[in-house]
């Protein structure tokens, strides 16, 4: 029992960091452009499959990179995919919220089919950091990949924090999400900010994808669950708030892990939904959010 509790505490802390990463990207894109990017899950999947193709010799025989090289390369590639998605598709339709919304989900579904076409439906296991850490004192064990995910996620969040608080380029992102008009009046290049935000969000999704695929497996349906979690986290934390996303990621992450451990894996999602409904009814703007203003 003590071991169970310890493993919930440890697992929850580790996986929640990845959830936070996903939710932050999702909420940042929404914050600056008012676009709910339902293709965010597809970017996560892109991360897993890109990394897989780069490190494994079973996909692209000529390309096998060391994880140290493949990981940053994956993050850059997924960031660029996200950037491309914005510039090619979303920019032309973003003035209509509903159309954008539908277009991004169609992109996600189309991407699923593309992945199935290229990689087939079977799940791919790959290892990012092999090995298991036994924690004798707590009677629990931690996969090194989970630990790496935790470190990388918090590292990325730290960098992001530095970027959006200390650099002009990052602060213009925050300014735009606070008030687009205000940002414009102070000379911020708003379209540039949006494109940059998509790039950053894509990079974060790429990191998350590599580790989610490493912990579970890369398969064509792997984007659904993280996307739904991102929704829940973002709503609980408040749409548009980075701080809220981190806090809510930990709430939801712990809840998921605890229900999974004590009530069974099949009811994992249900508690999160209950929390979602309660939050929506009691605190519709979330923990740290301002309520979405439909313009």
């Amino acid at each position: 029992m003590l071991g169970d509790i310890a493993s919930v505490i440890v697992d929850g802390a580790l996986i929640s960091a990845v959830y936070a990463l996903i939710a932050i990207g999702f909420t940042m894109v929404f914050g600056v452009g008012g676009v709910l990017n339902l293709a965010h899950g597809a970017l996560i999947m892109a991360g897993a499959y890109t990394y897989l193709s780069l490190v494994s010799d079973s996909i692209l025989a000529s390309v096998t990179l060391h994880p140290i090289v493949a990981f940053p390369l994956t993050v850059v590639i997924v960031g660029l995919i996200s950037y491309g998605l914005y510039v090619v598709l979303v920019r032309t339709i973003e003035e209509n919220v509903v159309i954008t919304f539908l277009a991004t989900i169609v992109v996600a579904i189309a991407f699923t089919e593309l992945v199935t076409l290229v990689f087939h439906a079977q799940p791919y296991q790959y290892s990012v950091v092999p090995g298991v850490l036994q924690v004798q004192a707590l009677g629990t064990r931690i996969l090194y990949v989970e630990l790496a995910a935790f470190v990388a996620s918090w590292g990325a969040m730290g960098l992001l924090w530095y970027y959006v608080t200390k650099t002009d380029s990052g602060r213009s992102i925050r300014a735009t999400s606070m008030s687009e008009r205000g940002a414009m009046l102070t000379g911020v290049d708003v379209p540039g900010v949006r494109a940059r935000t998509w790039l950053v969000a894509g990079g974060l999704a790429g990191i998350a994808g590599v580790f989610l695929g490493g912990i579970g497996a890369a398969e064509p349906t792997m984007w659904l669950e993280p996307l739904a979690l991102a929704f829940i986290i973002v709503v609980v934390g408040g749409i548009g708030s980075i701080k809220g996303s981190v806090a809510a990621a930990y709430i939801v992450g712990y809840l998921q892990t605890a229900t999974g451990q004590f009530l069974g894996q099949s009811v994992r999602g249900i508690m999160s939904l209950v929390v979602l409904v309660v939050v929506l009814l009691v605190l519709p703007q979330g923990l740290y959010g301002t309520e979405f203003v439909h313009e």
């Binding site: 003035e95 089919e113 439909h294």
Partner: protein, 373 residues
């Protein structure tokens, strides 16, 4: 599909270009075949259309001669399908079922702009109610019991989803419905001693006579189409569209938008119930893959988008087009490529013709009639 549903606001640059290209080909160069055939035909048909407009125009929207011709041909084609399309009865039957779904989605999401990803959970609820009743209560249960019960359960589930989520504005609603579908899918697995998990539940087909089965699906489909068209053209439809365009204005006019959104969800849950029962019997069973998964909701949305959201008859046409492409014309491409092509088509329609293909056709036909209206 009248113009009053369209405010210029949402029409973007690219759509404008696509439309003007269409207008150029059809009208400015109208000296071509279309104009030469269309205009006299329109003149010929106009008296009939005028009589229709006087009788039913107020309830179902006014039409020009060619538009009426399109409706009559489409209706006639559907009713006489077993005569000309014996080989295609299966896709046509499925097309009719999906048309019910697409129209049901449209009256709620298309009209109010509150996009629901939860509609496959509603159709799933209907299918599973029928399935569970047959499996666990009495296999001999009459359709007169299972069908109303299934629709009732669907409506109840619709209310259970709508009441907490529709109080919220903007995107929250869509997010909640999306999560609901995933949860419903999870439940069908978690309760697999009741639902047989992924294998699903066997349900008897209506009949093995494909022609009879076709009519058993098409008749309810046409009834749903007529009812929803009527509702869409009524004051209720106007209020729903007003909610999409400017919810504050609706409140300011003294109408409670939440109440209307709730009713639109109920209005949409009933067709979803009907469609779910039909699909269960046509497919001879319910299982999570053909009913619940979120892809199904997105297919409904795709049909509505291709046809033209918030027009009821557009999604109807979109459903037949989508199912036709999916099950007949693109089958040769193989499983994944076929879907990829379909989704890319939907994406193209979203970007370049966001009003939908059938609405473009409808307008083009209307434009041939000149500005008589």
């Amino acid at each position: 599909m009248s113009d009053r549903e369209q405010t210029g606001r949402g029409i973007g640059r690219l759509t404008g270009r696509a439309e003007s290209v269409l207008r150029d080909t059809l009208l400015a160069q109208g000296a071509g075949v279309v104009g030469a055939v269309g205009r006299p035909a329109e003149r010929l048909l106009w008296p009939v259309a005028e009589r229709y407009n006087r009788r039913l125009g107020e309830r179902f929207g006014e039409v020009t001669g060619l538009q009426l011709l399109l409706l009559v041909v489409a209706f006639g084609g559907l009713v006489t399908a077993p005569l000309w399309g014996q080989d295609y009865l299966r896709p046509l039957t499925l097309g009719a079922v999906w048309a019910v779904f697409a129209m049901g989605w449209d009256i709620q999401s298309g009209y109010t702009g509150y996009i629901s990803f939860g509609h496959s959970a509603l159709s799933g609820a209907a299918g599973y109610t029928t399935g569970l009743l047959v499996l666990h209560l009495n296999p001999e249960l009459s359709l007169f019991v299972t069908v109303p019960l299934s629709i009732l359960v669907t409506t109840a589930l619709g209310l259970a989803i709508a009441v907490p989520s529709l109080r919220l504005r903007g995107p929250y609603f869509s997010l909640v419905t999306f999560v609901t579908v995933l949860l419903f899918y999870r439940l069908t697995k978690a309760l697999s001693e009741w639902t047989n998990g992924l294998r699903g539940i066997r349900v008897d087909v209506f009949t093995y006579d494909l022609t009879l089965q076709y009519y058993m699906v098409v008749v309810p489909m046409l009834a749903v189409a007529a009812t929803l068209t009527y509702v869409g053209r009524s004051d209720i439809g106007t209020v729903l569209i007003a909610i999409r365009e400017n919810e504050d204005a609706v409140s300011a006019a003294g109408l409670d938008p939440t109440k209307f959104k709730l009713w639109s969800f109920v209005l949409s849950a009933v067709p979803m119930g009907i469609g779910g029962v039909l699909l269960a019997h046509v497919n001879a069973g319910v299982d999570p893959q053909t009913f619940v998964i979120v892809d199904n909701s997105i297919q409904m949305i795709a049909m509505a988008v291709i046809g033209g959201m918030s027009s009821i008859l557009g999604p109807l046409g979109g459903a037949f087009l989508f199912v036709g492409l999916r099950d007949v014309f693109l089958v040769g491409l193989g499983e994944e490529l076929r879907w990829l092509a379909l989704w890319l088509l939907v994406l193209l329609v979203l970007v370049f013709a966001r009003d939908g293909l059938f609405r473009l056709l409808w307008r083009a036909l209307g434009a041939l009639g000149g500005d008589r209206r």
